[in-house]
């Protein structure tokens, strides 16, 4: 989570300096929960279906920093080769499907990956995590996907982050139930709530849900409450978030909470945390220095072909 925060601060400053094209969407304030999800998963075995604020989960799962920088900078050596950018990246064959923008639509995809593995007899005790915001729970895709996963009793963890706002829309305009977790019963899945600002609590709850899924108890739904500590994207000043909410317990910064706890419990010292920060910064600078030297995509070298079967592409008639 430390790496995620430092990386995202870097991305924010690159955005402000005009060095990144397109949008920048950050997970500041969500790192504890996100990292807890990622570190419960094993790369090469489990599936991580991300949303836009999962930098910490990606790192904890094992996505290399290189993939992040290469996608932001559009390097041809990256997994998306300049064809898609920023958080729209992944390596589907390795268990990290590359999210499309349409909210909710990764649910069915992760369900299908688990379904196929079970069909092929190689699911083992692997699980798939799907992350989504509270706003995303209003989509049909979320409902259809979770219901399908529940009908199939798939080991899917539906990790909802209630960060109080969907872009600028407050929860009162997003859903009418008292607490989103009440929906778990309606889907016939186990439900958990957690204080998303508290790393230790996140680890406890997420590990329980992941274990239950591994043990064959079907989909698990978690709702973590916290506050988004940035704009929706870096273009957004989030002036619609009331100060009182920022001051309240939901507005705590999970990084500060985790660091204080760590030091109070004697799990580490302030000096150690500082040295971890320095390590993160140097890894980030090194990666960025490498990526900024890499070739950008060249329209003359692009295949301009959307099908994997060359004979079926008919671009020449359409240009």
């Amino acid at each position: 989570m430390l790496m995620s925060r430092i990386l995202e601060d870097k991305l924010a400053s690159l955005y402000r300096a005009g060095r990144l094209v397109g949008g920048v969407y950050l997970g500041k304030g969500q790192e504890a929960y996100s990292a807890a999800l990622g570190c419960q998963l094993t790369k090469g075995k489990d599936i991580l279906g991300t949303f836009i604020r999962d930098q910490a989960a990606r790192i904890a799962w094992g996505e290399p920093l290189l993939d992040a920088f290469r996608t932001y900078f559009g390097s041809v050596l990256g997994p998306m080769r300049g064809r898609d950018g920023n958080v729209h990246r992944g390596r589907p064959k390795e268990g990290l499907p590359a999210m499309i923008s349409h909210i909710g639509s990764m649910t069915g995809v992760v369900a299908g990956m688990l379904f196929a593995r079970r069909l092929q007899g190689r699911l083992g005790d692997a699980v798939g995590v799907v992350t989504i915001g509270e706003g995303g729970t209003s989509t049909g895709a979320f409902h259809e996907g979770l219901n399908l996963a529940a009908v199939e009793k798939l080991p899917l963890i539906m990790a909802i982050t209630n960060n109080q706002f969907s872009y600028s829309t407050a929860n009162s305009r997003q859903f009418a139930c008292e607490n989103l977790i009440d929906r778990a019963k309606g889907y016939g899945v186990d439900g958990y709530t957690v204080d998303g600002t508290d790393l230790v609590e996140c680890l406890r709850v997420v590990s329980t849900a992941v274990r239950r899924a591994r043990e064959g108890h079907g989909p698990q739904m978690i709702v973590a409450s916290l506050l988004r500590l940035s704009g929706h994207g870096e273009h957004d000043d989030a002036s619609y978030i009331p100060d009182a909410m920022k001051q309240s317990s939901v507005g705590r910064d999970c990084m500060v909470v985790a660091e204080q706890r760590l030091i109070a419990e004697g799990w580490g010292t302030a000096a150690e945390v500082e040295s971890w920060r320095a390590e993160c910064r140097s890894a980030i600078e090194k990666t960025m220095a490498q990526v900024t030297k890499e070739p950008a995509p060249d329209p003359f070298k692009e295949s301009w072909r959307a099908l994997s079967t060359p004979e079926l592409a008919e671009g020449m008639w359409l240009e």
Binding site: M80, P92, S105, G108, Q120, A141, E144, N147, E311, L312
Partner: protein, 321 residues
Amino acid sequence: MSLTYLEAIREAQYEALRKNPNVFLYGQDIGGFGGAFKATKNLQNEFPGRVFDAPISEDAMVGMAIGAAIEGAHPILEMQFADFSSVGFNQVVNQAATLYWRTNTPCPITIRLPSGGTAGSGPFHSQSMEAIYAHYPGLVILTPATVEDAYWMLLDSVECQDPVIFCEHKFLYYHLKSESFGNRELPIGKARIARPGRHATVVTYSAMLHESIRAAEELQADGYQVEVVDLRSVKPIDTDTILASVARTGRLLCVGEAFPWGGVTAEVLARVATEAFHLLDAPPQRLNSKDTPIPYHPNLWKAHRPTVASITDALRRLLRD
């Protein structure tokens, strides 16, 4: 023995399941019930654990098929009616169609769309969706018009590593019969001269092939030999075969059952106009359904879609020019 178009679809799925252990079938009511049209009759018994009933969740069904394809499976999805695929549209055009291009991961899925009009089916059980899907890069759109093509092209779809939208025509399900499935003669993307001629070319596909052939037969009495080209695949379109036919005849009518704005017929005319304007002896023509939703009552339905009579009229006008 005679085999129907619907039996061809069932038998092709049987064969796909038999040959390829990665194939599975997913769709509403397709298990024990055998599907709304019985296109999967008995398959669940014959292939236990590989034919699944789906919830009424077209979005999640397509999403799950994409996920399964990532893991090396080849799902065949049945949409109960092509019309309902609109609910899964997002997953088809934004997820399936972009997967290979974005991530270099092929997306081998086949989505069967029971398409087109039959009398009494009304606005929401009659649609032809091929043009909508063809608009998006990253999809292959097949529109078989014969029993043989229904069989072989469905098997071709399951061999294809790209997402295939398989538009099978409900009107042909029971009407169309053949003695056998024949042989695999043409690959995906190749059109077929269904009826040779030299005075005019009709380019068409799916159920309209049969109406067009009948129209061509009527005109034979007047001494006209009309060539009929069956596109078979609307994406890719076999432009070469179309142009070669127009080069022979100098006259083009393109017939489709779908709505008239844009679409396959407009695409064919655009290609002929841009590539072969100099070969045309008369302005190219097209004929589609009317620009309203598809009506329920047979009297209205028959007048909404192109018919032998309206195709014959259009051809007479074309030949007079």
